[in-house]
Symmetry: C2
Subunit: 200 residues, 2 copies
């Protein structure tokens, strides 16, 4: 029972931000590694013919309301980023580049990026934001900026996306515990119960 837990997420997914802290703590309490796996929901939506959930419809308005309400209940700050939705491809590439040398530092970068986006409300479309967050964590910003244009890193992200799609991941956040998939921040309690009881 020491298999790592997979945490698939898109940086542009507010529910992933709402889940990350509690999922991290839950994995720690259960003695499990948490493998952060940034994905690009847009590419998955394109493949599956779906559309982003938070749009201009009544459904989009409800989801925004639900996200803000969930943040309040969890005691998490939330400020919508200056641009939303936004492309998370550069951040995902930066993550997988750093992940090659240190998964731990890549996780720290991902968590700091989530905070910049969802607490500070920064626009991830602005390359300065990624650079600033990376610099705070003593990441080599010049090397990072070269890496996000490197065909090998692009291929690495594509490989991760192919893996995610082969696992039928179609939403964010998406958590896999011992082969069992859970979609959504609202499955956190189910994940805890599953970890504690070994399944139900």
């Amino acid at each position: 029972m020491t298999k790592p837990i997979d945490f698939y997420f898109d940086f542009s997914s507010p529910y992933a931000y709402l889940m990350a802290r509690d999922l991290t703590h839950l994995a720690q309490r259960q003695g499990r590694d948490l493998v952060w796996r940034p994905i690009l929901l847009g590419a998955i939506f394109k493949q599956t013919g779906r559309t982003p959930p938070i749009d201009g419809s009544a459904r989009g308005a409800y989801l925004r309301h639900d996200i803000e309400r969930t943040a309040r209940r969890k005691g998490l700050r939330l400020n919508w980023p200056a641009e939303f939705p936004f492309s998370s491809v550069t951040a995902a590439r930066a993550f997988y580049w750093l992940n090659q040398s240190s998964p731990k530092r890549a996780q720290h970068l991902a968590a700091a990026l989530m905070d910049a986006i969802w607490i500070e409300g920064r626009a991830l479309n602005d390359p300065d934001v990624l650079n600033e967050v990376a610099r705070r964590l003593d990441v080599d910003v010049e090397a990072m900026n070269q890496a996000v244009q490197d065909p090998d890193i692009k291929a690495l992200l594509k490989q991760e996306m192919d893996h995610a799609m082969s696992q039928q991941v179609f939403g964010s956040p998406w958590v896999v515990v011992d082969g069992e998939p859970f979609w959504g921040n609202d499955r956190l309690d189910d994940i805890q119960h599953w970890l504690q009881t070994g399944g139900f």
Copy 2:
């Protein structure tokens, strides 16, 4: 704080079945009336350009799995109905017809229909099923079968649908507590917290 709680649902929604028991008990414990409001999700999907969630895609397969898993966790029996998806328009009309004379009996009919569909796995497309369930509850089946073809009852359902859409209801189950909307069985804990604390 004694305003009734609105419970919008489609008889063909398994998550509504999964929520009905716990929501009923929660409302009772909080001293609130629960107003059952059957709706037709198909008509809402048509209007909003969306498609039924439980389809042949990977998402549909995940949702079926999640529904069965949620039933196990809640200790609820679940058998997929012989035909799925199915039309719930006749059941909704029967409900609103009975609701005119007795909301309580209409709720009993709704709950018994949910059990017939989701525990016994009966096909609601089969008119015998509605008749059989109604008969068990001493409902006048002949009057009911006339009512579901009555233009006044059809208009009553349409009026309820217009009301639901004016309230931005776009999913099932959908619960409104003191003007606050909650979509999905997985918002039950939020609803309980909201009722106990007066909002968050």
